[in-house]
């Protein structure tokens, strides 16, 4: 085998290993979600069952948890983008030490481990009567999500061509017209990405949901965790697979929408 052929084969093997490491667990989960009485040393499940997926599709606890998760994530994605857009823009316009302080403030909820953040928020939220409520969980999810997205928008607005806004103002656009006719359309893709990021942060949140929701607010990750602890592998696998759907969709959307970022003037 020539050296070139050997290098090509090595590259192929590396890509195959990567694909297997990413796809293998997903395939295994898929198999597990429809298997019945599948124990060691059997290589394949002796029997198949679709009840886990039926539960996920029907009105079971798993389905309700998936709906709760989706609702929280949608609101979190939209809310965090709404909050972070002006915050990131404001920090980007600061200069000197003020900018560093602003960026550090946005970074704090991102850097803090969720368990530490949740413990800190718990007391505060209980005082406000938000413990064990969906609203409390949503607000808790918003804290790290808004932090992440503020940093995201800080990067966007640092690269954003401020001359565009200057020129639009002198052409007669009021601040509201500037936002609606120039800034938002120019950042449409970035806003979509921010929403997806906020959605995913909430979608995969466990510690904050557990600490603020107090077990009353049941989301999909909590249900999956409960099924794992109860040894109900088929339901845990179906739930886990459902958890991977939004991230995969977001990845696909990002891949297909990856066009030129129009944050500078033409």
């Amino acid at each position: 085998m020539s050296r070139r052929a050997a290098a090509s084969a090595a590259r192929g093997a590396a890509v195959a290993a990567l694909a297997l490491s990413a796809g293998g667990p997903l395939l295994l989960l898929l198999l597990w979600s429809v298997s019945r009485d599948w124990f060691f040393p059997a290589l394949l499940p002796p029997a198949l069952a679709g009840d886990a997926w039926e539960q996920l599709a029907g009105g079971s606890a798993l389905a309700r948890a998936a709906l709760t998760s989706a609702a929280l994530a949608l609101l979190c994605g939209a809310g965090a983008a709404l909050v972070a857009f002006p915050v990131g823009r404001a920090i980007a316009r600061l200069r000197g030490w003020r900018r560093h302080v602003g960026a550090a403030a946005a970074f704090l909820p991102v850097a803090a481990p969720p368990i530490a953040l949740g413990t800190g928020l718990q007391f505060f939220f209980l005082t406000l009567g938000l413990g064990g409520t969906a609203a409390g969980v949503l607000l808790a999810h918003l804290v790290p999500a808004a932090g992440y997205l503020s940093l995201y928008f800080l990067g966007i607005f640092t690269a954003f061509d401020a001359r565009v806004e200057d020129e639009a103002r002198t052409l007669g656009a009021s601040p509201a017209q500037l936002l609606v006719r120039v800034t938002l359309p120019m950042l449409r893709r970035q806003l979509g990405e921010a929403f997806a990021l906020g959605f995913l942060i909430s979608w995969s949140q466990v510690a904050l949901t557990l600490l603020i929701g107090g077990g009353v607010v049941r989301t999909l990750p909590l249900e999956v965790l409960a099924y794992v602890r109860a040894g109900q592998d088929r339901f845990a696998a179906a739930g886990a697979l459902a958890l991977t759907v939004p991230p995969l969709l977001a990845l696909a959307a990002a891949r297909f929408a990856a066009r030129r970022t129009a944050v500078v003037a033409a």
Binding site: D161, R163, V164, D166, E167, A168, R169, T170, L171, G172, A173, S174, Q177, R181, V182, P185, M186, R188, A262, V264, A265, A266
Partner: protein
């Protein structure tokens, strides 16, 4: 500008501008440069339809001044009036003044026609009227065939022309251009300069343009203002400015290359190593003084008339060669006749056209003083 009328419910421009009011009047304007002292106590006026060019070296505050007029930079004192209306405290969108950056700034998410429609739409101009005006503006810059194009596909010169069309589409009283030709290749400059002049003639906004390029100022301006040491040192039509700089600092900024120290005598005579000159203009009292003149005002004589000197260097430029001639303590640049350049070290004689000489009182640092 008296034909300007409101076109729509949100057209915030004044319905009519008084005929007698200048398009722009700046009085005592003081603009800081961040924490540093900036432009101080500037005053000038620009008439409707006039092309007013402000020149100054890099960092002199030209862009800051334009931004202050446009409402994009804060001022600490003074007033800005557009069409007789005090706009000092108004936001940029209510000043009736459009500011164009050095490099054209087109909205990347809008097609060319929609870019030009932008100022009309935000003013609430009805669609058919807006479309007609936008197409007219594009036609004025020869870009009507590009209406449906994505602005990112245009060349630099084309973008400039679309930006100009968009700026005049709303028929502002004032157009503020920040070094519009600076980022262009020489081949494109003529094209964009022609577009500026043509569109300004057609729509008649007052035009305030800043540049550090004196040729550009001379080609575009009805009047030129020179910004020196944070103040306007002189305002004059280009021919007058280049012929009669008001101060030594202005003369130096204008690149009037030759300076000769001497003595200004009663009766306007100027005694110096070049002999006794009768300058075209003389400022200040009799006494120690500096005469300045352009290289074109001097010539090498073939017949030993004029002052004797010797060539110390040759300067080759795109538009011709000059000899640096030492006459006494002064080093003068003198154009060299094509095809007959002297050699370094040659003895030559220099004569000066007195009428093109301007004399100023001696200032510290004057060459040859």
């Amino acid at each position: 500008m008296s034909d300007r009328v409101s076109d729509g419910p949100n057209d915030r421009a004044p319905a009519r501008v008084p005929e007698h009011a200048p398009a722009l009047r700046v009085v005592g304007l003081t603009v800081p440069f961040g924490d540093q002292p900036g432009l101080a106590d500037l005053s000038f006026a620009v008439d409707a339809g006039e092309r007013f060019v402000i020149v100054g070296s890099s960092g002199a505050g030209k862009t800051t001044l334009l931004r202050a007029i446009a409402g994009l930079a804060s001022v600490t004192a003074g007033t800005v009036a557009v069409g007789g209306r005090d706009v000092t405290r108004l936001p940029p969108e209510r000043r009736d003044a459009v500011y164009l950056h050095q490099a054209p700034v087109l909205f990347p998410h809008l097609r060319v026609l929609d870019n030009v429609l932008f100022p009309l739409r935000v003013r609430g101009v009805p669609s058919p009227v807006a479309r007609e005006r936008a197409l007219q503006a594009l036609a004025a810059v020869r870009m009507e065939g590009y209406a449906a194009r994505d602005p990112r596909t245009l060349s630099g010169g084309q973008r400039h022309r679309v930006a100009l069309a968009r700026a005049v589409a709303a028929r502002p009283a004032l157009l503020l251009l920040d070094e519009p030709l600076a980022s262009l290749d020489p081949s494109l400059r003529d094209d964009v300069r022609e577009a500026i002049v043509s569109i300004q003639r057609e729509h008649r906004p007052a035009l305030v343009l800043v540049t550090h390029d004196l040729d550009e100022a001379g080609l575009l301006a009805d009047r030129v203002a020179v910004l020196v040491d944070r103040r306007i040192a002189q305002t004059a039509p280009p021919a007058e400015l280049f012929a009669r700089p008001a101060t030594l600092a202005v003369a130096r900024f204008l690149g009037v290359a030759n300076e000769v120290a001497g003595r200004l005598c009663d009766g306007g005579r100027f005694e110096c190593p070049l002999g006794v000159l009768r300058p075209g203009a003389a400022h200040g009292p009799a006494g120690s003084a500096v005469a300045v003149f352009r290289p074109e005002a001097a010539r090498l004589t073939a017949d030993s008339s004029g002052a004797a000197g010797h060539v110390v260097a040759l300067r080759h430029r795109a538009h011709g060669t000059g000899a640096l001639v030492r006459v006494g303590a002064a080093a003068l640049e003198v154009p060299v006749p094509a095809g007959r350049p002297p050699a370094v070290g040659d003895a030559v004689h220099v004569a000066v056209d007195d009428a093109q000489v301007v004399v100023f009182p001696t200032e510290p640092g004057a060459a040859g003083a």
